[in-house]
Symmetry: C2
């Protein structure tokens, strides 16, 4: 298992819901609500990884002192609230490296050497494998 | 490890953010946004576990066909949108039983024989332990 590559556990980019730089918060909110994911990656037009955005980040941004300022959903963009400081893995990174990051992150984005988005590694996939190991 | 009890990994109830039956969606949304959690347990007044509520469930409930119907946050209650069909563990359940459930659930609630809420077991705690195991 220590010799496994993350590529084995990765959900490929074409199966990953995401939003784009330039999208307004309202679009991101709709994507998250419709897919049911609490957070998704943010990519730019060239398909490079830029950050990740969550329901909480959006809500936090529109929670004013007096009331929820819903109009901000139409005026603010994802790049204003997303988390840019995210861990990044490579396809050939080890299982152990992925496991360590997944301790603190529900999913970790995988990119290639040029920074193009390849996919994500999730806690669920790692837990499934670890569960199988327990029976060996 | 197969002989570990879940109590070892459990976050006790006094440390778990939750909402109550009877709370309106607006209150739940504020609790989720302020704690930063994407989902929390729902308890009743006697501290019995009733379900769990997430950001997505709330958003789903207010997403109308034409627009986001924010007024529903003040009129709808948590019991109208929460997920009542949730797995439940006991304090003396095995690590393996918890691991299996955490494959599909980011956290699982623990209750005692009377149905009173004891705490939650999270993927993070299980992954930390599994990571340590890999070095043994
Ligand atoms: N449509 C669905 N079908 C089946 N199960 C679902 C599901 N939506 C959520 N779940 C379950 O809930 C867990 C937490 O989802 P969450 O959206 O908070 O957190 C997710 C989400 O933020 C992200 N993610 C997972 N799959 C994704 C995808 N295809 N596209 C974009 N983001 C994804 O990775 C996080 C961890 O995912 P993980 O699979 O470990 O864990 C998932 C999975 O066990
Ligand atoms: N305030 C915080 N401090 C440090 N890390 C934080 C954090 N909020 C979130 N995280 C990190 O993000 C993960 C996903 O959080 P989420 O809120 O989607 O999903 C959470 C949340 O729904 C629930 N949860 C965890 N701790 C909770 C608590 N004290 N009260 C209520 N619910 C909790 O269990 C899920 C899985 O939690 P887990 O720890 O495995 O995984 C957490 C943790 O690794």
């Amino acid at each position: 298992m220590h010799l496994s590559y993350l590529s084995e556990f990765m959900i490929p980019s074409d199966k990953v819901a995401h939003v784009q730089i330039g999208n307004h918060l309202e679009h991101a909110l709709l994507v998250l609500t419709r897919t049911g994911y609490s957070a998704v990656p943010v990519l730019d037009r060239t398909y490079k990884l830029q950050g990740l955005i969550s329901m909480t980040m959006i809500m936090d941004a529109i929670l004013g002192l007096q009331r929820i300022e819903f109009e901000r959903l139409e005026t603010m963009k994802v790049e204003e609230v997303m988390n840019r400081d995210i861990p990044r893995l490579r396809v050939h990174d080890s299982f152990l490296k992925g496991l360590k990051l997944l301790i603190d992150h529900p999913f970790v984005c995988v990119e290639n050497d040029e920074g193009y988005f390849e996919g994500i590694v999730t806690r669920r996939e790692i837990l499934k494998r670890l569960n199988r190991q327990m029976y060996q």
